[in-house]
Amino acid sequence: MDPTARTDAAQRPADSRVAGLRSVSASPVRPDLLPRVAAGDETAVAECVTVYGSLVWSIARRMALTPADAEDAAQEIFIDLWKSAARFDPNVASEAAFVTMIARRRAIDRRRRAQARGTPEEVHESLPSKEEPFDERIATDDEAAVARAALQELRPEQREVLELAFGEGLTHIEISAKLSLPLGTVKTHARRGLLRVRELLARASSAARRGTT
């Protein structure tokens, strides 16, 4: 992934992070889709695939070992999403974050199973294809803004590790090889970075709760 090709929102400072996640959004909040899926609304299924398809596909492509594996992963992710739709709580996480969590969890599971089977690692193939911007509710996600703010606070070497881990889907071992850093250092950078994001998210979340009560 070209790190310069971020959205404008990526460079936008997240002023909203302390004020709360769901209360101060730059874009009008559109109703969430997953509660409708959970209620059996068939049109919501198609909408979900349209809105979150490229997000899920992008995660599956990045974390899967082969293109065929990515297709299987995408299907598995959506099956999990339909099953988990009822568990989605907009007061806990944004819908995009919820979808991302499920997608990552599935993709990581698959990758672990593939590694356990000893599947030879293949290079991520990137075929030239038409690219499109993400749905607005992904591009303007408040939790992403909090994470961007946290990234700005981190030391450059920590930030680099997080960008490779979450932007490019590299494993700790791959990052260690790419940056010529000891594995322990990579893990520490990743943990520290995650911890900072966790702190900011928790703070923003409790601020949002205070704002709503």
Partner: protein, 383 residues
């Protein structure tokens, strides 16, 4: 961050680390086993906060969203279609279930249908029996076959139920075995880790001990060096003092000063020039000091003309009141190199001077003379 209990703080921290690592990507088998072991120990208290606002999985999701590129390849159309239809299929029974109060159309309803059909067939059979007695035997055979088939189906159903029960049991046993293995693995890992920890601690202690040993040795050496330097410094100071004294000894001016300060019976007389043409126009200042008790004395001059030491030298004569006035005592020869600067000359009396009454300076040939012809009597200092 993660709400846990039944774990000690170290395990809690380790759990948090492993969950963080797991949120980044697949764990190594050993770490996965360790994580599973810790989660197993937690039992039903599996950290729900893992994906909560303070959980690592949630942060990983936020970072993933934050680091998305501006544009990306959309989900391929064929895949989107497949996923949508699978979604609708998954939704299907649920939607139907919501819309209808009837139970799913399966087992019981089919049994009712079979019963109705069965009864109808029986009624038909009775009618046929009644009307066509000659076909009775064939029909009886057919009925026996149906009964046998139904018995076979029931048997098959029973067997499949038994098999399903066995399978469920096997699954439970496999799950139990897996849990046991994981526990054992986690325990072994914990033991191994504590060994490593202990070894690391030992090494750190040894290192610290060696470090303090070296530091102590260094301090001792430093103190010794300091002491030896201080002693050497004292010695050098003593030597410097001795050298200074030695220097003072050979400096006539300093010796004269000391004599002035110390001698109780000092004789001091100023020089005056004579009519001799060598000094008639010169202005000669200076004096002569003499201590009879120490038999020590000095002359000072300023303005006495310089002599050519290889040809002529100045010579001092001391007149002793207890001796013949015609034979003054030789006080030594000396030179003057620079008339403009004061010069101090120690008196080198060749005999004891018991009563110095006068001092005279003559110019003689180089090396001096025993008896002066007083051709050039230049200076006089008389008491």
């Amino acid at each position: 961050m993660v709400a846990v209990n039944a774990l000690d703080p170290r395990q809690e921290q380790r759990l948090d680390e492993l969950l963080s690592d797991a949120a980044c990507g697949p764990l190594e088998p050993a770490q996965q086993a360790e994580l599973d072991g810790l989660l197993e120990a937690l039992g039903d208290d599996t950290p729900g906060a893992y994906g909560g606002p303070g959980g690592p999985e949630r942060a990983a999701a936020a970072l993933t969203l934050a680091l998305l590129p501006a544009r990306a390849e959309p989900l391929p159309a064929h895949l989107a279609a497949k996923i949508s239809s699978a979604g609708l299929a998954a939704l299907g029974p649920k939607a139907a279930g919501n819309g209808s109060a009837l139970p799913p159309v399966r087992g019981p309803r089919r049994a009712t249908w079979i019963a109705v059909v069965g009864w109808a067939a029986a009624a038909g059979l009775a009618f046929v029996l009644w009307t066509q007695r000659e076909e009775l035997t064939d029909l009886r055979l057919e009925r026996d076959g149906r009964v046998a088939a139904e018995a076979g189906r029931d048997e098959a159903l029973r067997r499949s139920e038994n098999l399903a029960a066995d399978l469920a049991l096997l699954r439970d046993q496999a799950r139990e075995a897996e849990a046991l293995l994981r526990n054992e693995l986690a325990r072994l890992e914990a033991v191994h880790r504590s060994d490593l920890d202990r070894a690391a601690q030992d090494a750190a202690e040894r290192l610290a001990a060696r470090e303090s040993e070296l530091a102590a040795a260094f301090d001792v050496q430093l103190a010794e060096l300091r002491a030896s330097f201080a002693a050497r410094e004292d010695e050098l100071l003593v030597e410097i003092e001795a050298l200074n004294e030695l220097l003072g000894d050979v400096d006539p001016a300093a010796l004269r000063e000391r004599l002035l300060g110390e001698a109780p019976d000092l004789v001091r007389v100023d020089w005056s020039t004579t009519e001799d043409p060598l000094v008639a126009t010169a202005v000669v200042r200076g004096d002569v000091v003499w201590s009879p008790s120490r038999q020590e004395g000095y002359m000072t001059f300023q303005g006495l003309p310089a002599n050519r030491a290889d040809e002529q030298q100045y010579q001092l004569w001391i007149f002793d009141g207890t001796r013949d006035a015609a034979r003054p005592v030789d006080g030594g020869v000396f030179d003057v190199a620079d008339p403009s600067r004061p010069v101090v000359v120690p008196i080198d009396a060749k005999l004891d001077i018991r009563d110095a009454t006068a001092f005279a300076v003559t110019l003689e040939r180089a090396g001096g003379v025993v008896v002066s012809d007083r051709e050039h009597l230049l200076l006089l200092a008389a008491r």
